[in-house]
């Protein structure tokens, strides 16, 4: 987030650092949630429910990540969300899943990259 010079105040910077830490702490659960959705999909064949779940998860990551300064992660999450939305408008759910797997992998990689570089 562009905090501007006024936000150099220690209390604001400290609060934002705390939120960044909480976001990083939440990433494991977010990764597991998306992996659960894909496992469930393979088990039940319910592509629609899984895609909506993954898209919602990506949407939430996109909203927070960019604002907290994780630009690349936010961008990958947004790309996946868009790809799913566009895909479902044009293709069957299964076809959409196959077409968006690359973006899903890219997002999972980004999530893991943030975790690996976290202090």
């Amino acid at each position: 987030m562009n905090l501007g010079s006024e936000d150099a105040k220690p209390d604001v910077a400290e609060a934002m650092a705390g939120l960044r830490s909480r976001f990083i702490d939440s990433l494991v659960d977010r990764i597991l949630h998306m992996e659960d959705l894909t496992s469930e999909l393979r088990r039940t064949g319910d592509y629609t429910t899984a895609l909506y779940g993954i898209s919602a998860s990506a949407h939430r990551i996109a909203g927070v990540a960019g604002t907290l300064g994780f630009g690349a992660l936010g961008s990958n999450a947004r790309k996946l969300e868009e790809a799913i939305t566009d895909g479902l408008a044009q293709y069957e759910p299964r076809e959409t899943f196959l077409r968006t797997r690359t973006q899903l992998e890219a997002l999972l990689d980004s999530l893991e990259a943030v975790l690996e570089t976290a202090p």
Partner: protein, 321 residues
């Protein structure tokens, strides 16, 4: 300022609230869903002054929530700012049509948030001005001239089809040139607005402008449009360019609509508003100037009315800028 922020991502709400605090907005409440938001809104003794709504939420989304809030009498004029990703601009039209005043994009940028909140303050100031005016009118029907000048934009509380003028400007500024190209602006000018203002009390003037707004709204044959009062007897509508709007037909319908009020106006000793409809103002696809110029063009054209010498196809069709 008492604010309600609504988002279904708890961490985003934390970030938003921290950001608002850093901008000196400390009375910020939160809701994790549209349903929870409605419960909180309805339980308040002191209503909220502003709403920040995420567009995309599970269950009832932000646009539906915006519509529900607008349906509450105490929040007909409360500023609503939508929070959306850049890629969700397709939702922006729906948000404005549901009654939103503005939107801010994710990722959040503190400078942008500050600018948007300045707009909120200006709407609140306008709304408070109207309330003050109403109180003054209640005390003395003569007081309006000192409270407000003829050339100021006006929020007409009883005109349901009207949106604040600042919202209309925001809408055009956000559309972008490509989508601006798909809209046109039409000016409606009350020829005898100055006379009506001089000869009527504040309450009477607002009632007459509300009647005029209603007649104008009825003449716009488009599903999606925004209409505002810009002051000085000028109304401006933003209408989809592909709609079947005709200035000539609108002019006739407005006259017929107002004619129904003639007897009442005569009884009250008031002049019926005479409204001119301007030719639609549009912008070129590659025009990169100030989008709000289209509004000024529409106002100028409204003041001119439809020239009698205009070719019939021009009178009926959409014209270039």
């Amino acid at each position: 300022m008492k604010i309600l922020a609504v988002d279904d991502e708890p961490l985003f709400l934390d970030v938003l609230m921290q950001l608002m605090r850093s901008c000196n907005y400390h009375d910020v409440h939160r809701a994790g869903s549209a349903r929870e938001a409605m419960e909180i809104i309805e339980s308040q003794v002191q209503p909220f002054d502003c709403f920040l709504l995420d567009v995309q939420m599970e269950g009832m989304d932000g646009i539906q929530l915006c519509r529900r809030i607008r349906a509450l009498p105490e929040h007909r004029l409360t500023p609503i700012v939508m929070i959306t990703a850049m890629t969700e601009k397709a939702y922006v039209d729906d948000a404005f049509l549901a009654g939103a005043n503005d939107y801010v994009t994710k990722p959040l940028d503190r400078t942008e948030v500050k600018v948007r909140m300045s707009m909120v303050k200006s709407i609140l100031s306008e709304r408070n001005h109207v309330k003050l005016l109403a109180k003054q009118i209640a005390r003395s029907e003569e007081s309006h001239s000192a409270a407000r000048t003829f050339d100021e934009p006006l929020i007409l509380e009883d005109a349901e089809s009207l949106t604040p003028f600042t919202t209309l400007e925001n809408y055009l500024l956000k559309l972008g040139n490509m989508r601006l190209f798909t809209s046109m602006a039409v000016g409606f000018h009350i020829e005898n607005g100055g006379d009506i203002y001089d000869k009527s009390s504040g309450l009477e003037f607002m009632d007459i402008m509300t009647d005029a707004a209603s007649a104008i709204a009825d003449s716009i044959k488009a599903e999606n449009y925004l209409l505002s009062y810009a002051g000085s007897g000028d109304f401006v509508a933003i209408i989809p360019r592909l709609s079947s709007f005709s200035a000539t037909v609108a002019q006739e319908q407005i006259e017929a609509g107002l004619e129904e009020f003639r007897a009442i106006y005569m009884e009250d000793g008031q002049a019926l508003p005479r409204i001119r409809v301007g030719r639609p103002a549009t912008t070129g696809l590659l025009a990169f100037g100030d989008p709000t110029r289209m509004i000024q063009d529409a106002i100028s054209r409204g003041r001119q009315g439809i020239p009698n010498t205009l070719h019939s196809s021009e009178r009926l069709g959409v014209l270039g800028a």
